[in-house]
């Protein structure tokens, strides 16, 4: 009896172990293994082919002496800050305005969120065309008689990052809107009644009562946007290809260029390790506070 139970228990577990084998293999080889290999390579002098020597932090020293890398870091910080801030403010405003019992709500929601369904390549090409000074908005405005009108963001190295932020905000603001709107719809009507009885102005109610309640949705949307901005490569390739010059270079592109075009594996992996560490430092506290700080939030 007991042995029968034991064997059944084992067979049961064997199946569960087997089922998780693909995941285990992927985690070990595709995630952890590749990560470790990338980090290892960053301490070698690998150029076109991987080498197995050890040169300490040479690649990192070279990396942070490379102006193109420093530019790409600066650009990344600029894009990330403005993208996150504008997406958050705009998305929140859109959600709050839609929540005021407006007509044609479905139309507004559709119009604000559809860009999120499209790829970054498409987004980049679209805005490249609209902002094209020769035939786009600038030319159109000049044709209308505003002969000094200037909107040459995409081709001007001082302003190209504005163009990138504009395109990314257009792509991502709807996400914040959709998530916050879902959150607003989940808020108890009694709460609204209470704020009205207390005579709290609407904007104060949103700012000090409602938005704090929506904190999980806000964090979720910011995390999603952050992931997309860290991975952002396609939009830059499609929209500016890093130019003019290196004015819209980003770390993801720097790494790809050095891996596949410039045959500089050591430098590229040093750069990707830098990204890895940065993301870890930012993500770890968020993950900790979200999942370990308070228990029982798991669905």
């Amino acid at each position: 009896m007991q042995t029968a139970q034991l064997t059944r228990h084992m067979r049961r577990n064997t199946a569960a172990y087997l089922a998780l084998l693909p995941m285990a293999a992927i985690v070990v080889f595709a995630y952890l293994g590749t990560m470790a290999w990338s980090v290892r390579l960053s301490f070698t002098s690998s150029r076109m082919l991987p080498r197995n020597d050890f040169v300490g932090f040479d690649q990192y020293a070279q990396l942070f002496g490379t102006s193109r890398w420093l530019t790409s870091l600066e650009n990344f910080v600029f894009i990330a800050i403005f993208f996150l801030a504008i997406c958050f403010v705009l998305g929140t405003l859109l959600a709050i305005f839609i929540d005021q019992n407006v007509r044609a709500e479905g139309l507004f929601r559709t119009a604000f969120l559809y860009p999120y369904a499209m790829s970054f390549v498409v987004t980049g090409l679209m805005w490249q065309w609209i902002l094209n000074p020769d035939l786009g908005i600038e030319r159109t405005m000049r044709n209308l008689g505003f002969s000094d009108f200037v909107l040459d963001w995409v081709v001007n190295s001082d302003t190209v990052l504005y163009a990138v932020v504009l395109a990314t905000v257009w792509h991502g603001a709807g996400l914040v809107m959709a998530l916050l709107l879902a959150g607003l719809r989940g808020i108890d009507t009694d709460l609204w009644k209470a704020t009205r009885i207390d005579g709290i102005p609407l904007w104060r109610a949103y700012a000090f009562i409602i938005l704090p309640i929506l904190r999980p949705m806000i964090i979720t949307s910011l995390v999603l946007l952050s992931i997309s901005i860290v991975k952002m490569y396609d939009l830059i390739i499609a929209m500016t290809n890093g130019g003019p010059g290196t004015a819209s270079e980003v770390p993801a592109k720097f790494i790809m260029d050095n891996l596949f075009e410039r045959a500089n594996i050591g430098l590229a992996t040093a750069a990707s390790t830098t990204m890895l560490v940065t993301v870890l430092l930012i993500i770890a506290p968020v993950l900790y506070s979200q999942y370990l700080g308070k228990k029982g939030t798991t669905a």
Binding site: W37, L113, A117
Partner: protein, 299 residues
């Protein structure tokens, strides 16, 4: 919809003039924003219907005088991507070939992982899962080079199986999380009853869990179809010249042409490339929102 509307803050006090202006303000803001979000799509559509002569006039917002679908035909069947002038249709079919197995495999594995993680006690599984989730936050650039080497060793670099495997690998964190969260919300009594009846790991999975997974599978399909269709970087690196997805072909058509750019063809190509995700978005309605909401890392 009706429930959501009932929960919205219904501000049904007597309408003062201040409130009337408030309503006007709300619609004005939403209207301006709708224009901002829809404008690029409008510009793309009208541009794709114009002739180059008309585009050269520099009136990006004007309706086409003589609408023609010529640019669409060119984009589909004869636009040049580098040396080949066979249009986007090749890329379209490549994307379909990549999409179908990738979506099916990644969802099946995600469901299996989610099931094994939430109902069976497998030692070390949660640690594996934590590593997997952490991987979801990392920029792809950290994994790409070692994976290319692995694939080359295995002989699948630049092949259809190679790119499918890549999508399965990078889709796994979100898919596993999605199904795990969904399954942890199912009543465990069902599962326990099945175990008392002597059903094993696979029997429970196929006869009880899978039939109950329809709603979450719809969400998973929406997420994976849009994500895989919109992918650029992985297709560029892993698919190989023969299997380049539509997004990569699109970028080649637009950004590598020499001589005058055929903006009408470019815009037609851009719209063609976004038709699949747009159709998914418009066709799935609020399932799409649920998809991005539950795709968030919150478990």
């Amino acid at each position: 919809m009706s429930v959501a509307e009932a929960n919205a803050p219904a501000l049904r006090r007597p309408v003062t003039s201040q409130q009337r202006w408030g309503r006007i303000g709300i619609y004005a803001f939403l209207g301006v924003m709708t224009v901002f979000f829809l404008l690029p799509l409008y510009v793309m559509i009208v541009t794709s219907l114009k002739t180059m002569d008309e585009i050269r006039l520099g009136q990006i917002f004007a309706l086409p005088v003589q609408p023609t679908l010529e640019a669409w035909a060119t984009a589909w069947s004869s636009a040049c991507t580098g040396l080949d002038c066979t249009g986007l249709r090749i890329g379209f079919w490549n994307s379909v070939q990549i999409l179908i197995p990738s979506v099916i495999l990644s969802i099946l594995l995600g469901a299996l992982n989610g099931y094994a993680l939430s109902f069976w006690k497998v030692r070390g599984a949660n640690l594996l899962f934590a590593c997997l989730l952490l991987g979801a936050f990392m920029p792809y650039q950290v994994f790409i080079y070692p994976l290319v080497r692995f694939y080359a060793q295995a002989g699948i670099y630049g092949s259809l199986p190679g790119i499918v495997l890549t999508h399965v690998i990078f889709g796994m964190p979100v898919m596993t999380l999605l199904f795990r969260n969904y399954y942890s919300g199912l009543p465990t009594e069902l599962f326990k009853a099945a175990r008392v009846d002597g059903a094993g790991f696979w029997a429970i999975f196929f006869t009880i869990i899978l039939p109950m997974s329809v709603p979450i599978t719809i969400v998973a399909v929406i997420m994976q179809v849009t994500a895989i269709w919109n992918d650029f970087l992985l297709g560029l690196v892993f698919a190989g010249r023969e299997n380049l997805p539509m997004t990569v072909q699109l970028n080649n058509i637009v950004n590598t042409t020499t001589g005058e750019r055929a903006y009408n063809v470019n815009m037609a190509a851009t719209i063609l490339t976004s038709l699949v995700p747009l159709a998914v978005y418009l066709g799935s309605g609020r399932w799409f929102v649920r998809g991005i909401a539950s795709g968030a890392v919150k478990g």
